[in-house]
Amino acid sequence: MAPGFTGRFVSPNVPPQPGSRRSGRRKGLIVETSTSPKAAPSFFERNHLLLRRLHSLSGIVPIGVFLIAHLTTNSSLAWGKFGLRGQYPELGVQEGGVAYFQKEVTWISTQIPHLLLIEITLWGAILFHSVLGFMYARTGRSNTSSYGYGANWRYRLQRVSGYIGILFIFYHVATLRWGWTFLVPGGTKWDHHFSASTLASALRGGDNFTAAGVVVSAFYLIGITLLVFHFANGLWTAAITWGLTITAQAQRRWVYVCFALGAGLMAMGWSALIAAVMLNPAQARQVELKMQSKAGEAAAAITAPAASAKAGDPNRPSGQE
């Protein structure tokens, strides 16, 4: 043994005994594993992998999937006229957008089963993702001033977009879904029978633009932009986290895919916002009223044959008679 050696050879595989000499720091040449008695591992420590991966997964399913569906629906305010397939031929591009958007909203609010359950799942997922995301983000310290590489900026932006994005989501859901009208300039309450007109006045701060409305619209622009980035970039990092993309080339290829998806979502989000802000709420209301009266006529047309069937339709099976 070398002269001056005062330590012991210790196998790091042997579990330490509390209070044994191994709880010391450094003894001679051998740096011993720090094995000072520790508190029992916390819930977060015991389920570290599960929580980390659920955090990653929840950003894609359900939140990311919902984001795609949500922005696609909303962008119909811009392109809806072309989705009407000849229905309402008298409507222009903007009015057609209102009509199609209203059709979509009506479909969602009347046709999707267990809508509230889906909503609660989403809210729960967003809460889970944001609380854990906040905790995880606090463990890092951005250093783009020293290392201004692209991926490092995206690391920083991912965290900033998370912080601002969750504030935006809260404002968005609270005002338009939960009806917290005291947060809406002009106090418009969103109504799914008047989906486009009430949306437009909530964004504008009334039927006409107000200063507060411009602030709200700008907040929407920032919020949508940051959240789309957050999703696209999160999809890129998730592929590394789960080990889908390993080589640098694979990671670069996946950047292109995520960028394309992000660009598409950005185009949809921006076009939806621009279409909504440009909308005259009064005009939009006329389109929505027209649709409601048409829907009323259609409903009457559906119930009428049913009533006549009861009276004895020759085409209906009459086994019970």
């Binding site: 720090s34 995880y136 250093n143 290392y147 590489y149 490092n152 590394i240 390993i246 080589t247 990671q251």
Partner: protein, 273 residues
């Protein structure tokens, strides 16, 4: 892949010039830091080490104030030991391979030298990197061959496997990847090291030894460690590590590969396989 010298100035160097070297000094652990400036005549092919040697021989600041010699750590002086790693002009790199001509080519150019910020300072530019060794122990970065009897010849290693492992094995534990990492932060309390982020170097070593035919024996234990607090999941994918690695080790590929291994390991563990 660009390494830290992108901070370098590429103008042709003047001969017989003097440069100003700003050094972030600290008298000992826990003591406050202060900047000191030194005017240093630059010899041909001077590097940061020769500049520091000049300062050690002439410990007088640019203001003419006598001071103590600047302390730094160094070993091989050929960028293979990692001991002289420090933050030069705001970016981490080895000081031995840092040529003054590239960084301060004109009379009066300023260079800044700081100790790495992610490790406790022992004195001046000398830091205590024992947390790196601790993290290597956490992932059991060794081949288990110790026994009481002759274990015989090891398994054959395929040349392709060897080739893939070679670049990973060139890690000299210099700490550049950790200094540049936004997720790896200074942790003075040794008790917290077991839960703090391992960093790219240890994750890469776990991959290296998990790919080794004999090292594989400890693969599950390494994956348990990587799946836990401070493991591979704590990586935030800023990917600075691979940019500053002087050995050009594909650290981000190692992180992704261990991410995949931990995914499989976690699923197996979940179902009790």
């Amino acid at each position: 892949m660009t390494t830290a010298p992108s901070a370098a100035n590429r103008a042709p160097a003047q001969t017989g010039r003097s440069i100003l070297v700003r050094v972030l000094r600290c008298d000992g652990p826990g003591k406050p830091s202060r900047w000191e400036e030194f005017k240093v005549p630059v010899e041909k092919s001077a590097n940061v080490i020769s500049v520091l040697q000049y300062i050690a021989a002439n410990p007088v600041t640019a203001q003419g104030q006598p001071t103590t010699p600047v302390v730094w750590d160094s070993g091989c002086l050929e960028e293979v030991c990692g001991a002289c790693t420090m933050v030069i002009n705001g970016k981490v790199r080895q000081s031995c391979s840092c040529l003054i001509d590239e960084y301060a080519p004109r009379e009066g150019d300023v260079m800044t030298l700081e100790p790495m910020s992610k490790f406790p300072v022992i004195r001046d530019l000398w830091v205590d990197r024992s947390r790196m060794f601790h993290n290597l122990k956490r992932v059991k970065a060794w081949v288990p061959i110790d026994g009481t009897h002759n274990l015989g010849a090891g398994p054959r290693e395929a040349p392709g496997n060897q080739e893939q492992r070679y670049v990973m094995s060139t890690c000299m534990a210099c700490g550049c990847c950790l200094e540049a990492c936004p997720q790896f932060t200074l942790e003075g309390d040794e008790k917290k090291w077991d839960e703090a982020f391992l960093g790219a170097h240890a994750i890469n070593q776990a991959r290296l030894f998990n790919a080794h035919e004999t090292g594989k024996a400890l693969a599950r234990e390494r994956l348990d460690q990587l799946a836990g607090p401070g493991g591979v999941n704590d990586c935030g994918n800023a990917q600075n590590c691979v940019k500053v690695c002087p050995k050009k080790i594909p650290l981000t590929e190692s992180i992704a590969a261990m991410g995949r291994a931990v995914t499989v390991h976690g699923i197996k563990r979940f179902f009790g396989l």
